[in-house]
Symmetry: C2
Subunit: 188 residues, 2 copies
DNA sequence: GGGGAACTTGAGTGTACGCTCCAGATTCAC
DNA sequence: GTGAATCTGGAGCGTACACTCAAGTTCCCC
């Protein structure tokens, strides 16, 4: 859609505005007027670059899901340890509250919108694979099923921790994540 | 608002319709037209019984949060064990998918709406207290702060499990909850 | 530097929303 | 049974929304 340099820049500004509004007020908080005003752009420009409001939101969602996974360059043959993956997730939540809010709202949105649900599930599965691989690397005695189970548990707990930390400011996500790793390690 | 028998019945039908729509399509899915149609009621009747659409949604939210806690009759001096509390939560999620969906969306909604956020936080705090009391009963050597910390971790994990189980149908929440209890018990 | 494609703009469109209003029906305490 | 309070339905109101359109401007390949 965007072929000229200015178009690409405008597109970026629109996506940034959408991202901010989404984090601030959820899907409801994203209106065409707000997006275009925040981006300093006319309505027509928006529709020159995006098919619909939804497609801009979807683009932000896509970027957000990508952002949860650190360096996704090596898809299958990563060499990160479980500690690193957990740490990256914690950092993601605590350091990028804007994007993290969107990410955690996605789960809720996904419960409602099938298109988003599909994307969230796909991204989730990839992350489970990655966590499971790390588990096996850490504990080679683990069979594949057990590794996946452990990975699922760790990820689900982490998600819950992230959600809780946004609900309850007194929740110390980093400390709890450390506790989680200890418990999982102790159980292995 | 409702003084006559018919009024109370209508109110119930409206709340039921609101609950269904909320679970099905989130906040976005709840429109006045849909609610009144589903409840088989005129718009005027709705506004005779509720101040606004929001107040009906809020009522459902309130009921939902109450539903998460089994028998809240004995506020401070409960005698339930941690296993029971966890079991009740799992049952709640798996057996009442409609209400559970709303409950899990609440976290996301709460991130956006301060009134809902306040209610969710209050309900969350009460639940932490309850879980913490159970932890201390199970493990009297635990000091208060540690019990609360453990309770927070268990609850946050459970929330994450619930969310994951709605995202990913292959996630076995009951089994993972059992694993969670084992791990927490082993660490105690 | 000419020209066609890409970009920009904002007034305007149709639609769906939450909500008001009111005239008539129903309930129920007395 | 009466009457005041409550309940009911739905036409209609104002508003905000996502989106269109056409006329003008900017970009950038050649």
């Amino acid at each position: 859609m965007a072929r000229y340099r200015v178009g690409i820049e405008t597109r970026d500004r629109i996506l940034a505005a959408t991202r901010d509004l989404l984090a601030e007020g959820g899907l409801e908080g994203v209106t065409l007027k707000r997006v275009t005003t925040a981006a300093g752009v006319g309505v027509g420009s928006f529709y020159n670059l995006f098919d619909s409001k939804e497609s801009a939101v979807f683009e932000v969602v896509r970027e957000t899901l990508d952002a949860v996974d650190p360096h996704p360059e090596a898809p299958g043959a990563g060499d990160d340890r479980l500690t690193d993956l957990v740490g990256a997730f914690v950092t993601f939540i605590t350091d990028s509250p804007t994007v993290a809010r969107i990410y955690l709202q996605l789960a809720g949105l996904g419960l409602t919108d099938p298109a988003i649900a599909a994307r969230v599930l796909r991204s989730h599965r990839l992350r489970v694979d990655r966590f499971a691989a790390a588990c096996r690397r850490e504990d080679p005695a683990l069979d594949d099923a057990s590794a996946r189970e452990r990975a699922q548990a760790v990820l689900a707990s982490l998600t819950g921790y992230g959600l809780t930390s946004l609900i309850d400011p007194t929740f110390d996500m980093a400390a709890h994540a450390r506790g989680l790793l200890d418990r999982v390690g102790a159980a292995g």
